[in-house]
Amino acid sequence: MNPDPKKSKVLPSNLPNSNGSSHPHSLFPDEVLEKVLSLIDSHKDRNSVSLVCKDWYNAERWTRSNLFIGNCYSVSPEIVARRFAKIKSVRLKGKPRFSDFNMLPRDWGANVHSWLVMFAKAYPFLEELRLKRMTVSDESMELLAKSFPQFRALSLSSCDGFTDDGLKAITTHCGNLTELDIQDSVTVDVGGGWLSCFPENFSSLEILNFSSLNSEVSFEALEKLVSRCRSLRVLKVNENITLDQLQRLLVHAPLLTELSTGSFLQELTPRQYEDIESAFGNSKNLQVLSGLWDATSFYLPVLYGACSGLTFLNLSDAVLQSGELAKLLAHCPNLRRLWVIDTVEDKGLEAVGSSCPLLEELRVFPVDPYDLDHRHGVTEMGFLAVSRGCRKLRYVLYFCRRMTNAAVVTIVQNCPDFTHFRLCIMNPRQPDFLTNEPMDEAFGAVAKNCTKLRRLSVSGLLTDTTFEYIGKYAKNLETLSVAFAGSSDRGMQCVLEGCPKLRKLEIRDCPFGNAALLSGLKKYEMMRSLWMSACNLTMKGCRLLAREMPRLNVEVIKDDGSDEIQADKVYVYRSVAGPRQDAPSVVLTL
C-alpha cells in the first residue's frame, strides 16, 4: 500500500518520484489538471474522473461547463449549485417516458421553475437550456428570458405548460438567441404571436423549430426573420405554412441543412409549381427533411432536386402509398435514417431495401393505431425486405400487426449490428403469426446475435423464456421496455440478475409481483429508474422496498377506484435529494 495514495494518483507514472516530498501539488499544479480536464466533454468520463480522488473531484467540478441530469428528481438544485461553479449549458430530463402515452396525471411534476431560480442565482452566464418531458410555465420562461444575458439556445422536447406569452418573453428579450427549438412540445392554444416579437434588428438565429405548434404565425414576420438571419441552417415550420410561402422562405435561405415543410397540399399554378421545384433544386445543402403534411404523388416530385444529399428523411407526417415512396426513395441514395407511416405497406419497405443501402435507422409508425381490424399496415415481410437490403441497420422502431419468430431470426442474422431494437406487435400478447407459438425465440435471437444491443422493446406473446434469454445474452442492454409479457416473477428476476448495464426498466401489464420487485433491491441504485404499472405489486411490497433502500424514492400513483392494497403505478428511482416535495396528492412517496 502506498503510504501517500494522493501523491501516487496525481503524479504521472513516468515522472521521477521525489521521495519524502510533502508538496505533490508543486509537481502537478491544479491549473494543469484543470486545463487537461477542461478538454473532457463526456459527462460519463467526467463522473469517472470525479471519483479518482478529492483533488480530481474538485478540479472536475470547477471545470465542468455542461450539466446533464437524466432525472430531475435524482438531485436537487441546491446540491448542484454547491458542487458546480461554472455551468454554461444544461440538459435536464423530467417525467418518465410513459408520460408520452398519457399514463401520468397532469400535474405529476417535473416543473423546471425551481431549477431556473437556482440557475439565475448560481449560473447567470448560462447559455443553453435543453429540457425533455418537463413542465415549463410562462412565468419560468419570463424568468429565463430576463436572467441570462448570454442566453443562446432553448430546446424543449415533449414539454408542456407554456403559452404564447412565455414564448413572447423569450423572443422579445433574448437578443443573442441562436436556437429556438420547440420540437414535439404541444401546448393547446399556444398562439402564434411570439414569432412577431423578435426585434427588427435581431439576426442571430441559426435554428428555428416550431413544427409541432398548431397556431398560425405571421408569415410576413417569418419571411422577414428568415431573410435577415443569414446563418439560419435549421428551419422547421408548422403545417399552417403553405407551399408557395415555403418557396419564398427557401429563396431567402438556400443554405439550409435541415428543413421541415408546412402543408404540402395546395392548388398551385404551373408557375408556382416550377418555382417551388427550383427552390428545392437550389437547396444543395439539405441533409434533413420532414413535415410534408398531406403530400401526394402530384407534389412530391418538387422535392427531387433536393434529395441527393439527404441523410434523414422523416415522412412520419406524410400518408404515402408504396408507389409514392418508391419513386421518392429512388432519388435518395444517401439516406441513413428514414421514418415512414405504415400506409407504405410491405411493398414500400421493399423499395426501402432496394434503394437505401446505407440505411442505419428505420422507424415505421401506424397510421391508425386504434384500428383493431388489422387489415393494413406492415408485416414481417416488410421488415425482412429491409433487412436484406440494408445490412447496416442499427436502429429500428417497427409497429406491425403480425410477426413471426422465423422472420426476426433471419432479420438479426442479416443485421447483427442492432443497438436499438424496438418491435411493437400492436395486438397485445399476439403469438407467432404462422406457428401460433410465443415470440420467445425471436427476442432470444435478438439478444444472442446483437451483441451491441443497448435498447430493446418487446411485444407479442412472451413467456419467461424471453427474459431468460435477455438476462443471459443482452450484456450491453441499458433500456428495456416490456408490455403484456412474461409468465411469472422469474421473468423480471432474470433481467435484473443478468443485465449488468441496465439503467431504465419500464414494465406495464405483466404478471410480475412483489418477489420480482424485491429481487432487484440492490440493483435499483445502479439504475436511473424503474416503472411498473398494472402488474401484481402491492403497497406492502413497495413499502418494504422503500424501507430497505432509503436512497431510492418509491412513488405510487393511485388510480381512481383502486383499493388500498394494489400498487397500480410504481415509479422507483435513485436520488440523493430525498423524497420530492412537489408531488400531487395522487402520488404517494413511501
Binding site: 404551373p270 404523388s297 402530384f298 408490455a483 377506484g561
Partner: protein, 194 residues
C-alpha cells in the same frame, strides 16, 4: 371480483376453475375486456390485469363467441399523442377548402362546392345528383357515363374539358378548376377518348 385479488397474492390456477361460456380450449388472451368487468382495480379506460399464467382470469361472457369490439387500452400502442392528432383526416377543418363552381347546361345560375368535403368520386357524384336533382349513372373507362341524361365534366388547369372519373381522385382534386354538368348527348364525344 374475487378472482383478481387472489391472482395477486398466490399462484392459484384460476383458469381451471373459472366459469365461462364457450368451447373448452379457446384461449383468448388477446381480447382485452372492458374494465367494467374489473371495477375493483382499473379505471374505466385501462385494461384488465391478467393472472399469473399470463391468461385472462375473468372474462365477459359476450367475448367468447363473437369477435367483440376491443376496448381501447390507455397508452397502447405506445404512439405519442401529438402524432396521433396529426394523422386524423382533416376534411372539415382545412384552412382553405377547394371550392369550384358547378354549372349545369340549361340552369340559370351556378353552384359552388368544396371538393375537400368528399372522399372520392362516388360521394361527389351523389352530391351533384342531389344538388341538381338529376341522375348521372355509372362511370366506365370505355364509355364514360353512357346511358345517362347528364354527364359530369370539368375544366382542368390547362383549360381542357375533361370527363370526371378518368384520373385518380387526388389528381382530380388538385387539377379541377370548375365542374360542368353536360347533357349526355353532348358528352358522348368525350367518353370514347382515352
Amino acid at each position: 371480483m374475487e378472482g383478481m385479488i387472489m391472482a395477486h397474492e398466490s399462484d392459484l390456477n384460476l383458469k381451471a376453475t373459472e366459469l365461462r361460456l364457450g368451447l373448452p380450449g379457446t384461449d383468448e388472451c388477446e381480447e382485452m375486456v372492458s374494465a367494467a368487468k374489473n371495477n375493483k382495480r382499473a379505471s374505466p379506460e385501462s385494461v384488465e390485469e391478467c393472472g399469473s399464467k399470463g391468461t385472462c382470469a375473468a372474462k365477459s361472457s359476450e367475448h367468447e363467441t363473437a369477435p367483440a369490439p376491443k376496448a381501447q387500452i390507455v397508452g397502447w400502442p405506445p404512439v405519442r399523442s401529438y402524432r396521433k392528432n396529426n394523422l386524423q383526416p382533416k376534411k372539415t377543418e382545412s384552412e382553405s377548402g377547394i371550392y369550384v363552381k358547378v354549372s349545369m347546361d340549361g340552369a340559370p345560375y351556378l353552384r359552388k362546392i368544396d371538393l375537400k368535403v368528399y372522399n372520392g368520386y362516388p360521394e361527389l357524384l351523389k352530391a351533384l345528383e342531389t344538388m341538381f336533382k338529376l341522375t348521372i349513372g355509372e362511370y366506365s373507362e370505355r364509355e364514360g357515363y353512357k346511358g345517362s341524361e347528364y354527364a359530369p365534366a370539368y375544366e382542368d388547369k390547362d383549360g381542357d374539358l375533361m370527363l370526371v372519373g378518368d384520373v385518380p381522385w387526388d389528381m382530380f382534386m388538385s387539377s379541377c378548376k370548375r365542374l360542368r354538368i353536360m347533357k349526355g348527348s353532348e358528352a358522348r364525344g368525350l367518353g370514347g377518348a382515352l
